[in-house]
Subunit: 254 residues, 2 copies
């Protein structure tokens, strides 16, 4: 995009020995030297098993984490002990950005399956970013992007019906997998129906019913945790609220 020393994501991947450093590299504007320095502070491929904690709410924040393979859920626990799922993190995605403010984590994180993560000590990253304007810029962008995500979630929870939520969820996973070179229409749902329903603000029963209905309608093929999306276009329509023949939530014009 901007600078003169633009390098490709491919180059990065090689330079980083396939570590998911690319999470730090939206459209990439770091020089090869920057990447090397970045590469030096990354701690690589720590393995986790299903149910392992990365951190709990209130833990001191020391490092950002990038999922290499597997998946992580982040959640917040309320007084009465009930959880609220905040998000699912797939390969290439970052965890911990919310913790910079107070050097404390504001949520817990747990592995949903066997997972590898890379870790980046934030002190070092911040220091490096001070010496490296392009990296500083990337970090601002990265944080900003995360803020932008909120829009979608507000849309989802604020005005979408149950079908739309589930379809949106599936399409979101699809696109995120695709973006990382996995199949966009055939993947493994590492999270439980319970987690999904919690994340979508629905009851488990509702999610389960919608899965079976989508199945009956030939939109998906869900065998337990393995899901195939058979009709991406239709799912996208549903996600967008074009329900049967153009249904939508109550309009609202200023």
């Amino acid at each position: 995009m901007a600078g003169q020393n633009v390098i490709s994501l491919e180059t990065i991947k090689v330079a980083c020995q396939n570590c998911s450093l690319s999470a730090l590299c939206l459209p990439m504007t770091l020089t090869p030297e920057d990447v090397t320095r970045l590469d030096n502070i990354i701690e690589r491929n720590r393995p986790l098993h299903r149910g392992d904690y990365l951190h709990s709410e209130g833990d001191p924040f020391e490092r950002l984490r990038v999922v290499t393979t597997g998946s992580i859920k982040t959640y917040s626990t309320s007084d009465d002990g009930s959880e609220r799922i905040l998000g699912f993190h797939l390969p290439g995605e970052l965890i911990g950005l919310e913790a910079i403010e107070n050097s404390r984590h504001r949520c817990s994180a747990k592995a949903l399956e066997t997972t590898l993560i890379c870790e980046i000590p934030f002190d070092a990253l911040e220091q490096l970013s001070h010496e490296t304007p392009s990296l500083q810029h990337q970090l601002y962008r990265l944080l900003s992007r995360e803020i932008g995500h909120e829009t979608e979630i507000l849309m989802l929870l604020g005005k979408k019906g149950a079908d739309e939520r589930v379809a949106t969820f599936l399409m979101s996973l699809s696109e995120r997998f695709k973006g990382r070179g996995f199949s966009a229409s055939d993947f493994y749902l590492s999270m439980s129906r319970f987690d999904i329903s919690n994340y979508l603000g629905l009851a488990v029963e509702t999610v389960s019913r919608i899965f079976t209905r989508f199945q009956d309608e030939g939109l998906i093929n869900a065998k337990r945790k393995h899901v195939q999306l058979l009709n991406l276009a239709r799912l996208q329509e549903i996600a967008d609220g074009n329900h049967h023949k153009g249904r939508s939530q109550r309009g609202y014009h200023s």
Copy 2:
């Protein structure tokens, strides 16, 4: 907190001639010199009238904005023309952080009443932050804080009932006003019931009914847009989900 040159928020306020620069200063760790430099790039007190746009979705992003007096709503428009309110911005609060990623605004912003804003060219701020580690750190924190807010909204929209949502909304305004030296229990609701309901993911009628019920129960005194909170403690209980005698949404334990 950290550094040796910590100065108080009071000092800042004076240094900035009461401009709401303090939005950039969570617990403050900028030196007086930093503040002066920051001060120099800020464009002060641009006036807006009710209904004026600050920017629309897709507009190029050039400056961060801080509300000095008045209030702003941010919202996103979907294909069918319906709006989704993303947030309300009170004095001292920042607008535009979501736009850094692509140098384009991801939402629209409109003044809810007569409003003054300060503007900070982002290029200059970024440049300055590069020369000023403490400012760089503040910016990371600021962005991170915004990401952390998401938690609360997810809680609100994901598991709270209508009463809880309205109570949470009122308490949130109360605290934000209090934090800026306004009354915590007596304020002006610059946004319409429509905006409130949209933000809370409820129907206008529902919000209206809850306002009148809260009124009947002696919790608030709402004359149109002027609201008095008469029983903060009880409102907080309701916001937390301690409805009549300990009601709560379906629990969920991992």
